[in-house]
């Protein structure tokens, strides 16, 4: 059966699932957003656990419910994200864990039953391949770009995987998983913070917001204290980047994400820093969120730390050996230190 070409069947996409990679660069001037995984750290971890290239396309599962079945051959995959999930086979259901390599036998299914406090999980599948459209496999449904067919996953789809994707390589797991932070989401004020009086900037930081009902891959509407403009509530449109926080005339801020429009005419009070954007996108509807302001310099340091932490997490992936899981904790700790130093030249003194 291993000579067969395995097929991945989508039994159900759950709430919303798309193929994503690190996104499409270079076409914002033509109105094309980057798209790409809302949490690139989870994408890299899932790929490493499934034995795929680190930036290969994965299935991004939003809000759980994704249900996949292996057909014709073995399917090797891994899930990164805080989820409860189960394997369904001829012997019934049994609980499976994220953060490790899984191999589904033909006819077996994996179902994400529940998200545990977040919205995002990345499912890397060995042998999953998609055409590159404008340099990326990332799905941007509005314009039919990327993925298997330009759109989100739909129940009943069957996609062939590259042969032998299912079998090769040892089973892997993580010695530790990404830490869950509840600190304020950090922002850099601007580019249009001068459209708001000082009281508005202060109240944006002082009071909590909630993740509104409209929260998807395009952006997140926040509900909370109304932000008053100094004067004009619109301006001649300029460029937007993911993380930008627009404030339309109703005073309720909107954080723009990977699939957002590339230009807009509402003043942008602040921009969420790169290190915190995935954490914001992962917050379930109704969650409270607070914002904290940092300087550009601090945001750059935090970006370096975030990348060092991703490298450390990737270095904490271990293979299964005869005696159980290989666990050279000291080695991992040393490697972490080395990565941090390499990325922060001159920071040893501090």
């Amino acid at each position: 059966m291993t000579s067969e070409r395995p097929v991945l069947e989508v039994v159900s996409p759950g709430a919303y699932a798309t193929i994503q990679d690190l996104g499409r660069r270079g076409f914002r001037r033509h109105g094309v957003p980057w798209s790409g995984a809302l949490d690139s750290r989870l994408l890299r971890i899932a790929n490493a656990l499934a034995g795929c290239p680190e930036t290969a396309p994965v299935i991004e599962a939003f809000d759980g419910g994704l249900h996949l079945t292996a057909r014709e051959g073995l399917v090797r995959l891994a899930v990164a994200g805080r989820v409860e999930m189960e394997r369904l086979g001829p012997d019934g259901a049994r609980t499976e864990r994220p953060w490790e390599t899984l191999t589904l036998l033909p006819g077996e299914s994996l179902r994400i039953r529940r998200m545990v406090g977040g919205r995002l999980a990345m499912v890397a599948v060995a042998g999953l391949s998609c055409p590159q459209v404008l340099g990326s496999a990332a799905t941007y449904g509005r314009a039919g770009l990327g993925g298997w067919d330009g759109g989100p996953l739909r129940g009943g789809q069957r996609w062939p995987l590259a042969p032998a994707g299912g079998k090769s390589g040892p089973a892997l797991r993580m010695l530790r998983t990404p830490q869950r932070l509840t600190d304020p989401i950090r922002v850099v004020f601007g580019p249009q913070d001068d459209y708001f009086p000082a009281e508005t900037l202060a109240s944006f930081l002082a009071q909590p917001y909630r993740i509104g009902q409209d929260a998807d891959r395009m952006g997140i509407r926040l509900a909370g204290p109304s932000l008053r403009h100094r004067g004009a509530t619109e301006m001649l449109s300029d460029a937007i980047v993911p993380g930008a926080i627009q404030v339309p005339g109703n005073g309720q801020p909107v954080v723009l994400l990977a699939d957002a429009q590339t230009a807009g005419g509402y003043p942008k009070i602040a921009t969420v820093i790169g290190a915190d954007l995935a954490r914001l996108a992962d917050l379930p509807v109704g969650s409270p969120v607070r914002f904290g302001a940092v300087s550009v310099e601090a945001a750059v340091s935090l970006a370096r730390e975030a990348e060092a932490e991703t490298q450390a997490l990737l270095a904490a992936i271990r293979g299964e050996t005869d005696g159980g899981w290989d666990e050279p904790a000291l080695y991992a700790a040393n490697l972490v230190g080395g990565v941090v130093d390499a990325l922060r030249p001159g920071s040893e003194e501090g």
């Binding site: 914002r28 033509h30 004067g231 004009a232 460029a239």
Partner: protein, 267 residues
């Protein structure tokens, strides 16, 4: 920066403007992007300056002084430079851009292309045509005549893939956008708002007034560049019957409608 002419920021200071401007100026969008603002209103001089800098930067991104720069997004009034903050710094990027601005290339500016795009103004495809005409105090036929009666310049691409901001609309046709945007604007919708008119290439939410529909595909990922229209192109609209619209729409859905055939070589 003497090579580029900027409008006098002190001229015509408008008290309604929120921010009295001194241009050019840099603004940070987080730690991974910088916007170089050259102005804050629609102006041919500002646009020309944006386009000159954009031309001068093309081919220099990602190498030398602009190492780490991922892409540049020109708009009506600014250029946003997006970069990897782990590979370069905002200071480095600003210096790299300013060095290019100080020494612009005398590259040939391509003459603008002219397009004649078919638009069906039948009310079934133009849900706001009659109300828009009423609000402007003219008949629907007069609105259609006026909308087709001038050439527009592609001022910017953005918002959605291939979405062209066209301007400037005659003052007699200008009105503010809807206070509450539509949840669903049909693809192909031809719309007006403020000093601009546009075509929605994709279904999307939108706050503009829908006065017609253009069946020409404005974006094709297989083409290079993928957007049919480019900044600086000139566009006129040709009114078509519902029957001609249906023929073109059928061709479009079958993938047989090449936008290039609407290039107006006679112009």
């Amino acid at each position: 920066m003497a090579s580029f002419s900027f409008p006098d920021p002190s001229a015509g200071e408008d008290p309604a403007r929120s921010i009295p401007g001194t241009f050019p100026r840099w603004r940070a969008l987080g730690e991974a992007a910088l916007t170089l603002e050259l102005g804050d209103e629609l102006s041919p001089a500002v646009r020309a300056a944006v386009q000159a800098i954009d031309r001068a930067l093309s081919g220099r991104l990602g190498v030398g002084p602009l190492t780490g720069v991922i892409e540049v997004v020109p708009t009506f009034r600014s250029l946003t430079v997006i970069f990897d903050p782990l590979l370069t710094s905002g200071d480095q990027v600003a210096k790299g851009v300013e060095a290019v601005m100080d020494r612009p290339e005398d590259g040939e500016v391509e003459p603008p292309r002219h397009w004649s795009l078919p638009v069906c103004y039948e009310p079934t495809l133009a849900p706001d045509l009659i109300e828009t005409a009423q609000r402007l105090g003219i008949s629907a036929a007069e609105l259609v005549r006026a909308h087709c009666g001038q050439a527009y310049e592609v001022l910017m691409l953005g918002f959605l893939p291939g979405f062209p901001f066209l301007g400037e609309l005659a003052p007699s046709l200008q009105l503010p956008r809807w206070a509450t945007p539509r949840v669903r604007v049909p693809p192909g919708s031809v719309a007006v708002a403020g000093a601009m008119t546009a075509i929605y290439p994709w279904e999307s939410p939108g706050g503009w007034h829908l006065i017609g529909n253009c069946p020409v595909p404005l974006f094709d990922a297989r083409h290079s560049p993928p957007a049919l229209l480019q900044v600086g192109d000139r566009v006129t609209f040709r009114p078509i019957s519902i029957d001609e619209f249906a023929q073109l729409e059928t061709a479009r859905q079958g993938g047989d409608l090449d936008g290039a055939r609407f290039l107006d070589s006679a112009a």
